[in-house]
Amino acid sequence: MTMLPSERVAYSPIIDRPVIKWPNNARVALWISPNVEHYEYLPDFDGVRNPWARTPYPDVQQYSYRDYGNRVGFWRMLEPLDKYNIRCCVSLNMAVLEHFPEIGQAMVDRNWDFMSHGIYNTRYLNTLNEEQEREFYRDTIDTLRRHTGKQLKGMLGPAISGTERTPDLMAEAGLIYHTDWMHDDQPVPIKVNSGKLVSVPYSIELNDSTVFRQHYEGDYFAMICKAQFDQLYEEGAESGRVMCIALHPFLIGQPHRIKFLDDILGYIMSHDGVWQTTADDIAEYYIANYYDQAVAHAAQVNK
């Protein structure tokens, strides 16, 4: 029997947990996650989620809007990231490595960490059976290793999709973190059948894709990112917090927006006590230092 999603995470109130100390007593572990994606021109419709719902395929308007991110936006996005020496944790559709090797090389050159975001952003996990989903993890792990020599450690489900089995199969494939959970400001153990899996908080709020899909603009994105940082920085003096900013090159790389990314990074990186890191490193550090303690503590809370 597969666990229900509601059984995966034990309740744990943030005010009543073992204290987390990040390396060098940092208050906030900051990870920046560009979503480097490719959406297929003529995808298959899986029957539950329509990648291009606006028109019959292709939808050239929406396809090319996103393709702009790979042709132009990605390269512009690198400028402020490089200026502040940000080591990103890319959320990557693995097929990008095959289609657009210059992008893969630029990320390898910068020593980024690589988190799986599936193969394509138009191929969701929801309808995969167990064996297909196992093969999916093999494919993402192999593709990353083949093109970068790196070992895959975590995943944000493709277009944030998954199945009930996803955490178990991820752990079975040797992955250690899952970022589809927007439930916390600290890493959290996720129950799995074998191995250890944690969630590293990603953000659906500090995410250019949710912000710029609405009427908000770059100034607002900068304002909320700074406000988020200020709050977490204050709380992080007592126990470490995680802050994620999620980016999409086709959105943040637009000429009218890029200055706001510079503004955000300049503000945050001017503070002491920021551990600018990746989800890979956060997960490893947490598992090495706090995982067992967190599991034991949650059992107490829910007794």
Partner: protein, 305 residues
């Protein structure tokens, strides 16, 4: 049944009463505004039971996605793990006693939070079974009675006292809900968002009052459905208060806020709530109270002509 074209309301729940012709409502200590903050703990199920009704504007995540909807459900879970404590801290800082709306699945799955809220002197009110199982007129009368009873039984046994207030999950009601709530011993209901004062609801059994929420200032409505920026939202709260404070010099006004910790409790939002409540509580003549405290006063001090 379609309305009959005659004087008054097109239902029997309450009488037509324009605020301009009412008697004067006096709050304790000549306060101008009674402020009540409802902290909304509505539980979202991963897989709602078959036949349960889902509102068309489910909040959270990017948008509703096929099962299992990790991002939307976990986004709401943030309120239970993290957001609630920021909201309660801000209310405590400003001396506002919280009114916490808890549905049955919250009570059953988060006993820690029931204890925590009682320790912090919150009033806890009924909030249905879950945000994914709400009252609609699809329920039969017997089903609706059972629904209300399940919610109140869970709450009463967890708190050890009789629940006095009610906010329907997603404001859900049938045409008979007020009567059934009164029959079950509820004394006030927050679902009707139509006034700036409490008012009596007519019921065959029991004694029921409306404690109206300001719907436009509900954070899910403002920040999620209408996508008001959070700094502007803080200004809306202050502007609303300033107007009620001015109008409250002639007859008492009520400001009931319904806030969801998964949303207003996010790190980048909480400071804006802090600012707005700080603005309100700096004024003389503001009575911050829980729902039952306001209704207790109101029923003993009905407006006089």
């Amino acid at each position: 049944m379609p309305a009959q074209r005659r004087f008054g309301m097109d239902h029997d729940h309450y009488d037509w009463s324009p605020i301009s012709t009412r008697g004067i409502l006096r709050w304790p200590n000549e306060a101008r505004v009674a402020l009540c903050v409802i902290v909304n703990l509505g539980h979202q199920e991963w897989s709602p039971p078959e036949g349960s009704y889902q509102v068309s504007n489910l909040a959270g995540g990017v948008a509703p996605r096929p099962y299992p909807d990790y991002s939307r459900i976990s986004h709401q879970e943030y309120g239970y793990r993290v957001g609630i404590f920021r909201v309660l801290d801000v209310l405590q800082k400003h001396g506002i006693r919280p009114t916490v709306a808890m549905d049955a699945l919250t009570v059953e799955n988060y006993p820690y939070l029931v204890r925590h809220c009682l320790e912090r002197d919150c009033e806890i009110i009924g909030h249905g079974i879950s945000a994914s199982q709400i009252i609609t007129s699809n329920l039969s009368e017997a089903e609706e009675q059972q629904y209300i009873q399940r919610s109140l039984d869970a709450l009463n046994s967890a708190t050890g006292s009789a629940t006095q207030g009610w906010l329907g999950s997603e404001y859900g009601e049938s045409a008979r809900t007020p009567q059934l709530l009164a029959q079950a011993g509820i004394r006030y209901v927050c679902d009707w968002t139509n006034d700036e004062q409490p008012y009596p609801i007519k019921t065959p059994q029991g004694e029921l009052y409306a404690l109206p929420v300001m719907f436009e200032l509900d954070d899910v409505q403002a920040l999620w459905s209408r996508r008001v920026t959070v700094d502007r939202y803080s200004e809306l709260l202050k502007d609303a208060f300033d107007t009620l404070y001015r109008d409250g010099s002639s007859t008492g006004r009520l400001l009931v806020l319904n806030l969801s910790p998964w949303l207003i409790g996010q790190p980048f939002r909480i400071g804006f709530l802090d600012q707005a409540l700080g603005h309100m509580m700096r004024h003389q003549g503001v009575w911050a109270a829980s729902g039952a405290q306001i209704i207790d006063w109101y029923k003993n001090n009905l407006p006089v002509a």
